[in-house]
């Protein structure tokens, strides 16, 4: 199956989202209150790229962190079989109090990851607001969650899976739909 998004289009999409972020947070002081938090694993490099894209546009340094939501997953203790998922570090090296948090993930699907991420974030403080950025929205929500910025809406069936690959982790940039 051919890639739905290639490197050029991913890059262009992220630049567009960076512009949208600046537009929507244009109120005085708005940009100063922004902070990016990427959800591990692939939300983190996307958050870093957005920080760079914003820096390229207006020179602002947006603080960027990484969130591991494993410990907040609602399916963690449901399976009696198999080892526990590996936990990686959460690194949010700034206070999120009164910040406008831009939460970043690669694929929005059931919404359960985002639910877990919201719980995790709230344990770090009380942000002024949380906005959600996803590279791909593939539908099939199981919770009332909606993204504020979407790279690409990708209608999929439940039997398919969406594979996001990023240079930093996978050695190349592409988004692919796979039949499973």
């Amino acid at each position: 199956m051919p890639a739905v998004l290639d490197a050029v289009r991913i890059n262009r999409t992220l630049t567009r989202i960076a512009h949208e972020i600046l537009e929507r947070n244009a109120a005085p002081g708005g940009v100063d209150e922004l902070a990016l938090v990427g959800i591990r694993t692939r939300g983190v490099p996307i958050a870093r790229r957005l920080a760079k894209a914003i820096h390229d546009i207006n020179g602002h340094e947006i603080p960027t962190g990484a969130l591991d939501i494993t410990l907040y997953r609602d399916d963690l203790m449901r399976h009696a079989v198999g080892p526990q998922p590996v936990i990686r570090r959460t690194e949010i090296p700034f206070s999120i109090d009164d910040k406008r948090i831009l939460l970043v993930d690669d694929v929005l699907y059931t919404g359960r990851t985002i639910r877990a991420a919201l719980d995790a974030l709230i344990d770090f403080g009380r942000p002024k607001s949380i906005q959600l950025i996803v590279l791909v929205d593939r539908g099939h929500r199981e919770l009332p969650i909606k993204a504020d910025y979407v790279g690409k809406n990708l209608p999929t069936s439940l039997s398919q899976s969406v594979q996001v690959r990023l240079q930093e982790i996978d050695g190349r940039d592409e988004v692919e739909i796979q039949e499973s």
Binding site: L71, Y72, H79, A80, V81, G82, Q84, I87, R89, T90
Partner: protein
């Protein structure tokens, strides 16, 4: 991971590294304003302590609470054990109330293995007699790795009451499994027979043992377990085997000094060394919480082939 954590002897090298890496992530939770994650919500952990303990019990309890488990502590001094109940009966009665994890400390070696056979709950060994104290060895390894960035190839010297020490046994197993060069030293009356089988070197001269060491680990003189005279006096023990500034100077310049606690100041370690710049003793205590969180998290999940 297996169902229980009974000893380092049951862990593979990969499992040890998995625990240490998970502890790395757990430590960050202790630095947050809200030091709690919902991971073990609804799980019940029983801390069953047949021997006195401050550090280990507190550390387990904090670890359980940070993971949102419901915890209860059974101190033997206020329990039916005093009325003559056996360990197996106590365990089966606790088991009847369906806890998920039992953390056991007991004066008899092998007590955790007994519990493991009769309980469906997961069992964590918090020290059984003179056998093992796996979470202590894991937190020691975590502390060493933090300072030295590796364990393989380090010279680790362990000095003190080797005979009665479960900390020694767990550490010897773990450190040799990860490729450290372990040298143990103590009065010959306190060197257990066959200790070489752990893959460690035995030295009777503390000066020689400490020479060029990367890590020096002191063990407590366990007078409560001693029936008989193993050395003439505590003062003589200190003179011959105690860790002093002069002895520390023989080790590498970046040596770290460890002690599992509780310390006998002026017996196995001088106050200058215990409170000195090379001492990481309180870091060991801090790291204990993260390591125990990791163990609880990894055990609470599924078991392969369950």
């Amino acid at each position: 991971m297996k169902k229980d954590l009974l000893g380092i002897g049951d862990l593979t090298r990969d499992e040890i590294y998995l625990i240490l890496d998970t502890a790395e992530a757990m430590r960050e939770i202790g630095q947050r304003p809200i030091k709690k994650v919902p991971t073990l919500r609804g799980k019940t952990v029983v801390n069953l302590f047949y021997e006195p303990s401050t550090r280990t019990r507190t550390s387990f309890e904090i670890a359980e609470k940070r993971l949102s488990a419901d915890t209860l502590n059974i101190a033997v001094a206020t329990s039916s054990v005093l009325k003559g109940e056996t360990l197996a009966d106590t365990a089966m009665n606790i088991e009847a109330m369906a806890p998920d994890v039992i953390v056991l400390r007991h004066a008899s070696s092998g007590a955790c293995h007994l519990l493991s056979r009769i309980c469906r709950s997961r069992v964590i060994n918090a020290g059984d007699g003179m056998h093992e104290h796996p979470t202590q060895a894991l937190l020691d390894a975590f502390t060493i790795r933090e300072h030295k960035k590796r364990i393989e190839g380090l010279k680790v010297t362990i000095v003190g009451d080797l005979l009665h020490s479960r900390v020694l046994r767990s550490n010897a197993l773990l450190l040799t499994r990860l490729g450290a060069d372990v040298c143990v030293c103590g009065p010959s009356t306190l060197v257990p027979i066959g200790i070489e089988r752990f893959g460690v070197r035995v030295s009777t001269s503390v000066d020689e043992a400490v020479d060029e060491a990367d890590v020096v680990m002191m063990l407590r003189i366990q007078q409560e377990r001693m029936q008989g005279a193993f050395f003439p006096s505590l003062r003589e023990y200190f003179n011959t085997f105690g860790m002093t500034t002069a002895r520390v100077a023989r080790a590498k310049p970046d040596v770290i000094i460890m002690h599992p606690g509780p310390m006998n100041r002026g017996v196995e370690i001088s106050s200058e060394v215990a409170d000195g710049p090379y001492s990481v003793i309180l870091e060991q205590v801090a790291n204990g919480v993260a390591v125990r969180m990791a163990v609880l998290y990894l055990l609470a999940g599924g078991v392969e082939g369950d």
